[in-house]
Subunit: 148 residues, 2 copies
């Protein structure tokens, strides 16, 4: 493989990830539309369904998003009645985010989504696992490079 070919490959890989990400979001859309959610909002709920309460900071660390993205997103979710935001009493710099009962209830309705997605992806369980392992390694590596 010559140098030029290598460069093309690299461009293609980055592009594939970029395009794939958008296509995945598009795949979720019809299901999330029924729940009145966007994909990033769904990710926030996935975190909250596990932890029930968290901070903006912790959410950002989990989802790799900063307050510039999360603050307006969480405000929209609060407006929709899914979460509640309030300053921590112990440390007033922090904003605690927790589910409302409505946000909690959405968990049931959303439970069909992962099955539908897995079916649409066309991957077997084994392929899933392999893809995930490779991906998380790449993600961790790039993230650490970006942090520097």
């Amino acid at each position: 493989m010559d140098h030029n070919e290598q460069l093309k490959l690299e461009n293609q890989l980055c592009f594939s990830v970029y395009a794939c990400s958008r296509e995945i979001t598009k795949m979720y859309r019809p299901y999330l539309d029924q729940l009145g959610l966007t994909y990033p909002q769904y990710l926030v709920l996935l975190v909250l369904w596990e932890h029930h309460e968290t901070t903006v900071k912790a959410l950002g660390a989990e989802l790799y998003l900063d307050s510039g993205t999360l603050t307006p997103l969480l405000k929209r979710m609060e407006e929709a009645g899914l979460v509640k935001r309030e300053r921590s009493k112990e440390d007033e710099r922090r904003v605690m985010v927790h589910l409302t009962s409505e946000g909690e209830e959405l968990r049931e309705k959303a439970s069909i989504i992962p099955d539908a997605m897995a079916a649409n992806s066309g991957l077997s369980k084994e392929e899933f696992k392999k893809a995930l392992t490779g991906f998380q390694q790449l993600l961790d590596h790039i993230h650490s490079v970006n942090e520097k």
Copy 2:
């Protein structure tokens, strides 16, 4: 692997792709900033450096983007003096997009980018190839599912 575990895996894979895409864009940013480009603009240039001239429609098909995204993006690139947009004389529905000499010249300056990216990714050539193959398959599959 039980059902619940499978669902978590699926969520993690989609999230990894989503987060990875943003981290890759972030990795490009310092290099692209020097050229006054964004990542989607760089992708447009990659296409034009190959073909020299294309249509909005064809660009959209290559990059999986629609006119709602491309029209304002191309206008900004035109404003920056990188491309020229003009209606086709043969079929006035089409808008031809071609490089200016300035856009052509940027190719030289951009040539260091792929090397830097490949080094940052931490992948060997073999890993690159394997990742790319898996990815394009996934992309094609999901894209075809979404088209239906």
